[in-house]
């Protein structure tokens, strides 16, 4: 059994409520931090823990906090990114649904560390239920004196505002989120300046993911160095993985970073193997934006090492044979899944969600979707496959925000590893055009 940090008390009945949460040592990190530690000491502890952003990029949280411009007289803001919209990722929702006070506790401690007196939680528009849960949790914490003026009799005051987005994936990108929070159109900002210098209402701002902030409470309780003992190398601590696709036990799991991918996939404690005893074909381990890997490369690296669930190991091999940890949305495909269809589906998503500000992403995502749609429906041409590779390469790195890259990588990696499936679609259009066609794996055996 791996160690549980975030989900330690998840099975306690009623843990969702303030009283039960409090009875299980909840809010002790707030007491410890506010009463016995200076803000800098809290930041130092988070630095020592090695905690890295759980929103996708994996940037060290303590370091990010230390970039916050403290010299200005302007207010500083902490914004919690609860916009979770990445296909395959549903871990933040799980945390909010089941143990919302863990997030509130993390928010209070983090706000104290950063010297913020107003903190915002930006929640994905579709998360109506979760907005209700958070609002109630905030009200409970407020009533108990953990929010408001002079928390626990100290001279620290804090308000938490829960803000609903309007349902756009792009508003998860931190600067688009800030624009949206300010009441503007959710277009990502041109950087520099970065939010740490000029963020919300032009004031220094830190944006962190729900899971990142939820981990701060336990880190303060156990101490940074203790947290850093869990995990492997620079991937410290535990991570929530939302597993879905063709597996026996889809769901949200807390793993110690460094767990072998094969164990996560096949052990009964986690995914429980491939559904129906089928062969594993591919895995996207970090949400739809990261490269897909075929079965043999997801369980072992190109160098033959077992692949681990860690930032470094998943990235081993770069884009040629590796992928990324991303947000921890673990999507599993069995042998009968069609990679062309899946790729088309993702590219449709990115096309739909592009904000349209910059030319490569606005035009390129639509172009890729249209070409993939043709291939998937038996109207592809041989040259379309290289065309897709070329479009993806021209978007990548040339856009304002990483959504462009996120749209390009799934296409590029699917073709890199599953080119024969794309070719099959082009070569046997009448087969793929048949709406009742058999799984690709079976068709390919018969016809190639």
């Amino acid at each position: 059994m791996g160690r549980k940090i975030l989900l330690e008390h998840i099975d306690v009945p009623g843990i969702k409520t303030f009283d039960v949460y409090r009875a299980n040592k909840g809010y002790s990190a707030v007491e410890k931090a506010l009463k016995t530690m200076s803000p800098d000491e809290v930041i130092e502890e988070v630095k020592k823990s090695g905690l890295r952003g759980r929103g996708g990029a994996g940037f060290p949280t303590g370091l990010k906090w230390s970039f916050l411009d403290r010299k200005t007289n302007n207010p500083r803001y902490l914004v919690c990114n609860a916009d979770e919209s990445e296909p395959g990722t549903f871990k933040d929702r799980y945390l909010i649904d089941h143990i919302p006070h863990l997030l509130i506790e993390g928010l209070i401690v983090s706000s104290y560390a950063l010297g913020c007196n107003a903190t915002f939680v930006y929640v994905r528009g579709e998360f109506k239920t979760q907005i209700g849960i958070l609002e109630q949790a905030v009200a409970e914490a407020r009533k108990a004196g953990f929010l408001g003026k002079n928390i626990l009799g100290t001279n620290y005051s804090l308000e938490i505002y829960v803000h609903s987005g309007a349902g756009a994936y792009i508003c998860g990108e931190e600067t688009a989120l800030l624009e949206s929070l300010e009441g503007k159109r959710g277009n990502p900002r041109i950087k520099p300046p970065f939010p740490a210098v000029k963020g919300l209402y032009d004031c220094p701002t830190v944006v962190n993911n729900v899971e990142t902030l939820a981990a701060v409470g336990p880190i303060i309780n156990m101490g940074g160095p203790e947290y850093a003992k869990i995990g492997i190398g620079r991937s410290t601590g535990t991570k929530l993985i939302s597993a879905c696709g063709n597996i026996n036990k889809p769901g949200v799991y807390e793993i110690e970073l460094g767990l072998p991918v094969s164990e996560f996939l096949f052990s009964e404690e986690y995914c429980g193997g491939i559904k129906g005893g089928k062969q594993l074909k591919a895995v996207i381990p970090g949400g739809s934006s990261v490269p897909v890997l075929p079965a043999k490369l997801i369980t072992t690296t190109a160098a033959g090492e077992p692949r681990l669930m860690s930032y470094e190991s998943l990235a081993e091999g770069g884009f040629v044979s590796g992928t990324m940890m991303g947000s921890g949305g673990f999507i599993v495909y069995d042998a009968d899944a069609c990679m062309v269809r899946s790729t088309w589906n993702f590219s449709r998503f990115y096309h739909h969600e592009s904000c349209g500000q910059c030319s490569p992403c606005r035009e390129g995502t639509g172009w890729m979707e249209k070409v993939l749609h043709r291939i998937e429906n038996g109207h592809g041409r041989q040259e379309d496959i290289d065309l897709l590779v070329s479009i993806a390469a021209k978007i990548e790195g040339n856009t304002i925000c990483p959504l462009g890259d996120a749209a390009a990588w799934p296409v590029a990696s699917a073709i890199r590893h599953f080119r024969e499936e794309f070719e099959f679609h082009v070569n046997y259009p009448e087969l793929v055009r048949d709406p009742k066609h058999q799984p690709i794996s079976k068709l390919a055996q018969v016809h190639v």
């Binding site: 756009a168 159109r185 904000c355 349209g356 500000q357 910059c358 030319s359 021209k394 040339n398």
Partner: protein
């Protein structure tokens, strides 16, 4: 002052200057094309990506190159920065890619487009475009609409540079003009077909780099290259009254702001000057205006008529016979 080297030419600029503006200080070929940045509009730039350049050396203090190409219009220079624009094959390839993206959904109906001849996209495509399109899908289409009495919007031709949005916001006062929807279905729109009613609304036409926003009082009247741009002025209470009057013989066909060598207006003008004053008697005509562009308008420079030099006939070579 910061020293920055662009395509092997070094220039000194104020700290805070962007790479693009440093390049503009040098001038000529090393200036990256800018389809969205507009020095007179706050917040503009960063969107079209045509101005991408390579930073081969970040600064004297930190000589590492930047990992990705950067938008020169929104990246400030550092002391000792080394930038490659036209000397970098990577940059030229990216620019080609951007032009391809800008054109896939573009109607390219230049023969019936009022902007033809003074269109930044035309110039850009001519210089960096591919010979043939690789795009065989359907282009997205919008209806042509009027925004107000004087302005036509051809959304099909829009490259979403947002210049008109900033203009409406910052110059024309009221924020009723903006972008709706997102991605490649995003469109410029006025709030529920409201007109942009302001004395300065016509400036959106001048800032538009393409033929998406055109002057309804000039529509289809003439191709721009048949007109003579003349500097003209009048006493105007609302603006400086300094304009370019586009003339055909003695008639004024249209009035625009005066544009500088980078295609930007020198001063924004009011709608009265632009739309109402079409009589020669309304203006003091100063003389021909130099159009500093590669366009067909300046192909026949008429402002400095030079005496043709006499071409010496080539001396005929006597072929040796062997």
């Amino acid at each position: 002052m910061f020293k920055v080297t662009i395509d092997n030419i070094t220039v000194e600029v104020e700290p805070g200057t962007t790479i693009l503006n440093a390049a503009r200080k040098i001038g000529g070929e090393v200036v990256p094309p800018a389809m969205c940045y507009y020095s007179k509009l706050k917040g503009s730039g960063g969107k079209c990506r045509t101005c991408l350049v390579k930073v081969a050396q970040g600064s004297a203090a930190d000589p590492r190159p930047m990992p990705k190409l950067v938008a020169s219009c929104s990246t400030p220079v550092q002391d000792g920065m080394v930038v490659q624009n036209i000397t970098s094959p990577e940059v030229l390839a990216a620019r080609k890619a951007i032009v391809e993206f800008l054109l896939i959904n573009h109607p390219l109906d230049c023969p019936v487009c009022d902007q033809a001849g003074e269109c930044d996209l035309q110039d850009l495509s001519f210089k960096h475009g591919l010979e043939a399109t690789r795009y065989i899908e359907e282009k997205r289409e919008f209806d042509v609409v009027d925004i107000g009495e004087k302005i036509k919007l051809h959304m099909n031709r829009c490259i979403l540079c947002y210049r008109c949005v900033y203009t409406a916001d910052q110059i024309a006062g009221k924020r009723v003009h903006g972008v709706m929807y997102r991605g490649d279905t995003a469109e410029i729109s006025t709030l529920i077909s409201q007109n942009i009613n302001s004395d300065f609304s016509g400036n959106v036409i001048d800032v538009c780099p393409v033929g998406a926003l055109t002057d309804r009082t000039f529509r289809f009247k003439s191709r721009v290259w048949f007109l003579n741009p003349m500097n003209a002025h009048r006493d105007c209470l609302k603006c400086s009254g300094k304009v370019t009057a586009w003339m055909f013989g003695k008639e004024i066909y249209r009035v625009t702001a005066r544009k500088d060598q980078f295609g930007e207006v020198e001063e924004f003008i009011c709608d009265e000057c632009r739309f109402e004053k079409k009589q020669t008697s309304d203006w003091v005509i100063e003389g021909p205006r130099h159009i500093e562009r590669n366009s067909v308008i300046s192909a026949n420079h008429y402002e400095k008529i030079k005496k043709p030099s006499i071409i010496k006939p080539l001396e005929e070579k006597t072929e040796k016979q062997e």
